[in-house]
């Protein structure tokens, strides 16, 4: 499923709204989630999961081409933990194909 599929799915659930409202709503939600994390906040969506930041201290890395040592600065990376409902709903005995 892509972002356009998601927008189409939401537009179909809200026939009273114009299609561009679903489009804009998805943008507002994703922008707010990005901004919250960029501000150092957590995101907690009951039944879906939570997003938080994990800290990565600075380290000495290597340029794989030249073998030269480079210092990689400390940073944060986003981390998602699935909530109970999502975890249980995806964990069907795997059906492949």
């Amino acid at each position: 499923m892509t972002k356009s599929d998601l927008i189409a799915g939401l537009a179909a659930r809200f026939p009273q709204l114009v299609a561009k409202d679903a489009d804009f709503a998805v943008k507002v939600i994703l922008d707010a989630m990005t901004a919250a994390l960029a501000d150092g906040q957590r995101i907690e969506i009951r039944g879906f999961g939570s997003f938080a930041l994990n800290y990565r201290p600075s380290r000495v890395g290597r340029n794989p081409k030249s073998g030269e040592k480079v210092s990689v600065p400390e940073k944060h990376v986003p981390h998602f933990k699935a909530g109970k409902e999502l975890r249980e709903r995806v964990d069907v005995s795997p059906v492949r194909g």
């Binding site: 998601l6 809200f14 997003f51 998602f80």
Partner: protein
Amino acid sequence: MTLTKAELADLLFEKVGLNKREAKDMVESFFEEIRGALETGDSVKLSGFGNFQLRDKPQRPGRNPKTGEEIPITARRVVTFHASQKLKVAVESVKHGNLKP
């Protein structure tokens, strides 16, 4: 400060002009669409934000940490999230020690 469904619904009310009921339903539907796709085994790719993917994990040996008893951890399907480059860049420079509870 934590972002929750209530704050997202407020934003939809203010910025998109949905009424309160619609805004709340839209937020719920947004996450339900994603859950529904993942439930059917479909991965979800939200460009500029990240991808939700499914991984099938085989059974592995585990242990009850209290009793030390060996119990197999059953095979399962789990969701993983991979942040987009844009999201990674947006959060990498958050100051350490500046995470908000």
